[in-house]
Amino acid sequence: MSANILTVDDSSSVRMTTRMALTGAGYSVTEAVDGKDGLEKAKSGRFDMIVTDLNMPNMNGIQMIEELRRTPSQLGVPILFLTTESDSDMKSRAKAAGATGWLTKPFEPDQLVKLVKRVLGK
């Protein structure tokens, strides 16, 4: 069975690229448009992984990760975040909030797929 992945990003073009990359690799993808949407979807769905942007309206990625990790059912779900070179403090804050790993934008779709495979394990 393919893994279910929730992608959270306010940018429709990034959402589209991630969706194309992940569905192309055989994953099922659900999309959320901001932190609040992501939190709701994550809590009511059952995802094997969450890939999220950090800088978003209506609850940013860091707040969303914190909220998720406070929810028992979301413990252990790998959360990858997308970030840019320029905000290194965001990276450490997201890590502290409970994120699993990150990918630096801009990224190639292959990089994302590789990372997702790696974090999901065998």
Binding site: T30, P72, R118
Partner: protein, 702 residues
């Protein structure tokens, strides 16, 4: 259906982001200390940069990066938000837009100039902005490096490493799967892995989601040390990791791995499988009470997921041309429906009639739904005027306040698009010719800031968009003098007030003494009038000298399909837009003969001129014994149209006439009737004007 091109998706998104940034900045200008606005603008820039880089808009990404860096100083409170800053970022935004639209035509000089301007605007703490500008390219070029270093090193002699790894207690809760890490190590070469349970607490103190194990790994690989470290890239900062190269003798270089193992000899067999052997730690991390709930979860879950996906699909982005295609189809369906009803109407087949009625109802509902789909709120149109006003204010040194009303009013998308340019022109005109300089305003006893009000409201089948200013108003004498000087009217010619004002829409007319930067760009008010008329709209002007002017555009809500009244004149059939029809009367042959030559009917104590379409269209036929008068109006003026027969209402799909018929003013278009024949659509505005002219001539004649 084909997948849309991601680059196109990005362009659309970039346009929205730029719009958002602009609106945010314009709001910020009025509330300079609003942190949430600053955040919103910053976020817009950030997303634009990130997505731009993803889709190969490198010039955009790098330029936006610099802007973001500069703006970040404001966000962090290191520099204040000022009107200058807003202006600088607005200018930068415009540059970003051109970088989105024409990424190949990068204008480096403009970019540099704008950045310098922006950096000056945030340069509060001295020197700092320069530093940010320099660090930026570094950061950018650093991005791809991360991905490439991994396998860059050449293959070397196999080396044996002793690795000891202790992950933080919350590592598994945070999604790190230790087994995946160990698997990755295995992939690097030969591995001997042993687990160290020494730190596992007694059973009663165990938190199921915590990790207390350490691993010792003996790895023989020809891969470089970097590859080993890379396995731990996400946890490196929080974990204890030692990677030591084993001496050829076989003994570890240091004794460290052995120590903790014996530190706590208490064996807790139960803890080990709980924390490690489970491949899905999140599932085991719960209390037993939760287990049944989870077991039933998949069944419950499926529909939940489905409804969520449905909700996500509620908003669908559709390219405009697809809507247009659909509109065409609906138009054709409406025509086919008319044919069907005609056939059914002549048939005695009850079933056919009932199907035809159903189709008729469905087609008309479909048409209505389609109309709504094409409607967009005028807010999208008004939104862009905030920026225009901002720019105009700076250019003219006038203080301008923009008020918008009725932004929720919805109008056909095409109408909005076509109205944009005329409205820009009218607003420019209001600011340029209407509003006075602050000094003059004060002298005239007005507030220093001039006010331009854009409003929209729906009235019947029309939307009325008005541009109002509280400036100096239109000077009729000057308009008249100017018109006489340019030969538009002859001296002494009698003109009504409205006629004088309409002169400003005449080609080649301009009252401005000097051609300013704003107006006089070659696009005259006559173009505005033409555009509005092409939309089957009309323009009214009201103006009070010294108080201000209001120009109202009355535009039909939609362009493609109208409800029409089908009439017959002679043997030809014509359509009168139903929205213009006020009432229908009978014109008996007696009345007809009696009114011959005068062509007026008395309608509730007012005289309404009428036109005999039979004469106007030179049908050369005898009138029907009972002719009808259809009274049509343009809101202010009205006129009766004498027809032979009123056939009934008819949903009319408007087909525009060919360019050859450009000079034909009496008709605004054509439509295809149910039997396939063509009916011309009468241009009410033109006919009313003709009727009024006839009235004026008759009055003159006495």
């Amino acid at each position: 259906m084909t997948m849309p091109d991601p680059v196109e998706v990005f362009r659309t998104e970039a346009a929205e982001l730029l719009e958002q940034i602009e609106q945010g900045l314009l709001d910020l200008e009025h509330q300079l200390d609003d942190a949430s606005l600053i955040d919103a603008v910053f976020r817009g820039l950030h997303t634009l940069k990130g997505s731009g880089a993803m889709f190969g808009f490198d010039a955009l990404a790098s330029f936006t990066h610099h802007c973001e860096t500069a703006f970040d100083r404001v966000r962090k409170g290191m520099a204040p938000a000022t009107p200058e800053l807003v202006h600088a970022v607005l200018a930068a935004r415009d540059h970003m837009r051109s970088l989105v639209e024409q990424p190949d035509q990068e204008d480096d000089e403009t970019g540099q100039r704008l950045l310098t301007q922006l950096q000056q605007a945030v340069a509060d703490g001295g020197g700092a902005p320069e530093e940010t500008a320099e660090s930026a390219p570094e950061a950018n070029s650093g991005a791809p490096a991360e991905a490439e270093t991994v396998s860059a090193a050449p293959a070397a002699e196999p080396v044996t490493w002793r690795i000891r790894m202790t992950l933080p207690e919350n590592a598994m809760a945070n999604g790190t799967n230790p087994l995946a890490l160990l698997d990755e190590l295995r992939d690097l070469g030969d591995c001997e892995i042993s687990v160290d349970t020494g730190n596992v607490p007694p059973l009663y103190r165990i938190e199921p989601s915590e990790l207390h194990l350490s691993w010792n790994v003996r790895l023989t690989t020809d891969k470089p040390r970097d590859d080993i470290e890379d396995v731990f890239i996400f946890v490196m900062d929080d974990m204890e990791l030692s990677i030591e190269q084993e001496e050829p003798g076989g003994a570890p270089a240091q004794a460290t791995p052995a120590e903790p193992q014996s530190a706590d000899p208490e064996p807790i067999a139960a803890a080990e499988p709980a924390a490690v052997a489970e491949p899905a730690p999140q599932a085991s991390a719960q209390s037993p009470a939760q287990a049944p709930a989870e077991a039933s979860a998949p069944a419950v879950n499926a529909p939940v997921q489905e409804t969520r996906q449905k909700r996500a699909a509620e908003n669908v982005r559709v390219p405009a041309e697809r809507l247009d295609e659909l509109m065409d189809r609906v138009g054709e369906l409406v025509i086919a429906k008319s044919r069907l009803s005609q056939i059914a109407g002549n048939s005695i087949d009850v079933q056919l009639r009932s199907v035809s009625e159903d189709v008729e109802r469905l087609a008309s509902e479909l048409r209505d739904t389609m109309m709504v789909l094409r409607m967009v709120p005028v807010a999208t149109l008004f939104g862009r005027f905030r920026r225009l006003i901002h720019d105009l204010g700076r250019e003219t040194s006038k203080q301008i306040e923009l008020v918008t009303e009725g932004e929720a009013t919805e109008v056909d998308k095409t109408v909005i698009e076509r109205l944009a340019d005329p409205l820009v022109h009218l607003v420019r005109n209001s600011v340029d010719h209407g509003l006075e300089l602050p000094g003059d305003r004060a002298a005239a006893g007005k507030g220093e800031a001039g006010r331009v009000t854009l409003s929209a409201r729906q009235s019947g089948g029309e939307v009325i968009i008005s541009i109002k200013d509280d400036g100096r108003g239109i000077d009729r004498d000057r308009v008249r003098a100017k018109a006489e000087a340019s030969g538009l009217v002859s001296p002494g010619q009698q003109l009504t007030d409205q006629e004088v004002m309409q002169l400003i829409f005449a080609p080649g007319f301009s009252t401005a003494n000097a051609i300013t930067n704003l107006s006089g760009r070659g696009v005259g008010m006559d173009v505005v009038k033409k555009t509005v008329e092409a939309l089957r709209g009309t323009i009214d002007i009201e103006s009070t000298l010294g108080k201000g002017s209001e120009i109202s555009l009355r535009i039909p809500l939609t362009l493609a399909i109208i409800d029409g009244l089908l009439v017959r004149v002679g043997s030809g059939r014509y359509v009168i837009p139903l929205s213009a029809v006020e009432e229908c009367l009978e014109l008996s042959s007696e009345d007809d003969v009696r009114s011959e030559g005068r062509s007026f009917i008395s309608l509730r104590n007012s005289l309404v001129p009428f036109l005999r379409l039979r004469e106007l269209l030179s049908t050369g036929t005898e009138p029907d014994p009972y002719q009808k008068i259809v009274v049509v109006s343009t809101g202010v003026e009205r006129v009766g149209l004498v027809v032979d027969q009123i056939i009934g209402d008819h949903q009319t799909v408007i087909k525009s006439m060919s360019k050859l018929h450009n000079d034909v003013a009496t008709f605004s278009g054509a439509t295809i009737l149910g039997d396939g024949s063509v009916a011309l659509i009468l241009d009410v505005g033109h006919l009313v004007a003709a009727g009024q002219q006839q009235e004026a001539q008759l009055r003159k004649a006495g």
